[in-house]
Amino acid sequence: MTETTVSTLTPPRAARRGWAGQAGRSALPVLTVLAAIVVAWYLAAVWMNAPWVRDQAARAGETVTTGQLLRATMAQERPVLPAPHQVAAALWEGVTGQSVTSKRSLVRHGWITLSATLAGFALGSAAGILLAVGIVHSRVMDLSIMPWAVASQTIPILAIAPMVIVVLASVGVTGLLPKALISAWLSFFPVLVGMVKGLRAPDPMQFDLMRSWNANGGQVLRFLRFPSSLPWLFASLKVAIAAALVGTIVGELPAGATQGLGARLLSGSYYGQTIQIWSALFAAAILAAGLVWLIGAVARLTLRRMGLAR
């Protein structure tokens, strides 16, 4: 508890580095943590897959040596927990093993999911921002919308998604849009909550200044509320994009579960193909992490250009 603690001693200038520098500094820690996870994963894989190997051997009336056991747990066709290299191989195969237009290509499925995710995210965050703006400006909206927005999120989307899809299909809305709507449904809420908070976060004195200039609502929004809500907005957007992805995947199931990572996950589960589940899972998580990272990068860039990132 004696060493230096508070990071103020690193002056702002130290934080200002190029992207390359930042990536370089991140590589080692990321790799270290990654290595730790992979090791833990292998151990877990051995531990979780071993009973099956032992059972098999017992049924066949054989005994297995530790070496055999280890090897066997790493190479099952339907492991309880696939080993990292199995997932990596499946991912690699899914991405590069065939042309991107093939039904087996993870790139194709990923793209289908991604496009609906982005559409849903755009819809959802736009809706969230607009509603938040309305709520901070209108008491009627604040008092009437907010409780219902909360209630809307407690509706288990998976339960009504099929109905949504059915209803939309009956009015001729099919394809990407129904999925995007479900994903928007899940992603608007974090943005709404975060933005309501952010738009109300400026210091009272700053509002007083605006008042003394007789700025109208729109101006206060543009010049004060919006800029100072940005840290809130970006934190919310990160959550929202991950939620949008989940929404899309959820929406892909009742959409007939034909295409997209959600369908891959589902059919993988249905046929007990754990390796396929995990590779689809990782594809989705890589997508999500990439999207979150992208928003983080936009956030850093914006906040820095605004002189806020110090």
Partner: protein, 308 residues
């Protein structure tokens, strides 16, 4: 805005009236049934406008109720006017009747899903996220190493992990809690990390001159300053936790719980029961959210957003 200055009277009253009247007229031209619905909506909205103007604590509580009543009336009337089959969308009256009739069962489902599954998972997930955020904050090494990977792991889609977690943790509420942990972890983590970074430079300089140890600076400065952000994450995840627990039951469960009941009832075309469960979920979820929001008011009373 200063607390002492009352909100401005709505200047746009007449404009709103004209707008809604126009909309109703337009809808009427299109289709009489649509016209009726539009009129209903306009009536509710304008009532709320008046209530908001008159203000007072009664108005405050009345507004969401009027809004909700408008929505429900709209729903009931629409279902009847357009003769929507009940296997597609039952009328609110049918849902209400079912809700009342099956309340004991619905409550036992609620206990299984919300209290055992969602609440446990939420508490665990929140604690885990806060601790991780602190670990990340504590160590620049972890910050660079763990955060990207944390993003990644925590962004695993629920539909993918739910079957796996059911396989690992069994069919009962434990696996639901595990799903909820994974679901709420990331939003809370993101907000908490942002919150821990949100102290202002002057305040950090002060604790530096007092040579506060890391944990002291954390406890006395950074955690309080992070509270508004933390609560942002907590609020968002109240509803996520409920969804997570319900959805996880789709992937394996004992024969009780809201998710179980909903999916079974959908399969049985028992849509009033589906919606009665959804109603319960909405009530419980809103109460959950309200409690967290209340705690937020208590804890972050000093924040500008709470003072206006």
């Amino acid at each position: 805005m200063s607390a002492a200055v009352a909100p401005e009277a709505p200047r746009s009253d007449r404009a709103a009236l004209a707008f809604w009247a126009g909309l109703v007229a337009l809808a009427l031209l299109w289709d009489a049934r649509l016209g009726a619905l539009a009129a209903l909506w306009a009536a509710g909205w304008l009532t709320n406008g008046l209530l908001a103007w008159w203000g007072g604590p009664t108005g405050r509580t009345a507004i969401p109720l009027v809004f909700g009543a408008t929505l429900l009336a709209l729903w009931e009337v629409a279902v009847r006017l357009y003769a929507v089959p009940s296997v597609i969308l039952p009328a609110p009256s049918a849902i209400g009747a079912r809700f009342a009739a099956d309340l004991p069962m619905i409550l036992s489902d609620l206990w299984q899903t919300l209290v055992k599954g969602a609440l446990t998972g939420w508490l665990l997930g929140a604690a885990l996220a806060v601790l991780t955020a602190i670990a990340i904050d504590r160590s620049p090494f972890l910050q660079r190493g763990l955060l990207p990977i944390g993003n990644f792991v925590a962004a695993l889609p629920i539909v993918g992990i739910a079957p796996i977690l059911v396989m690992w943790f069994g069919f009962d509420w434990q696996s639901k809690a595990a799903v909820v942990v994974v679901m709420v972890f990331f939003p809370i983590l993101v907000n908490m990390v942002a919150g821990l970074a949100a102290t202002d430079a002057l305040q950090r300089d002060q604790v530096a001159t007092w040579n506060a140890g890391y944990w002291q600076a954390l406890g006395k400065l950074r955690l309080p300053a992070a509270m508004p952000f933390l609560f942002n994450g907590l609020k968002i995840t109240t509803t996520l936790a409920l969804i997570g627990a319900i959805v996880a039951e789709f992937f394996g469960s004992p024969t009780r719980g809201m998710g179980f009941r909903i999916s079974t009832a959908v399969g049985q075309m028992d849509l009033p029961l589906v919606w009665a469960e959804i109603l319960m979920a909405a009530l419980a979820g809103s109460a959950f959210y309200a409690i967290v929001a209340l705690a937020e008011r208590r804890v972050t009373f000093w924040h500008p957003s709470q003072r206006q």
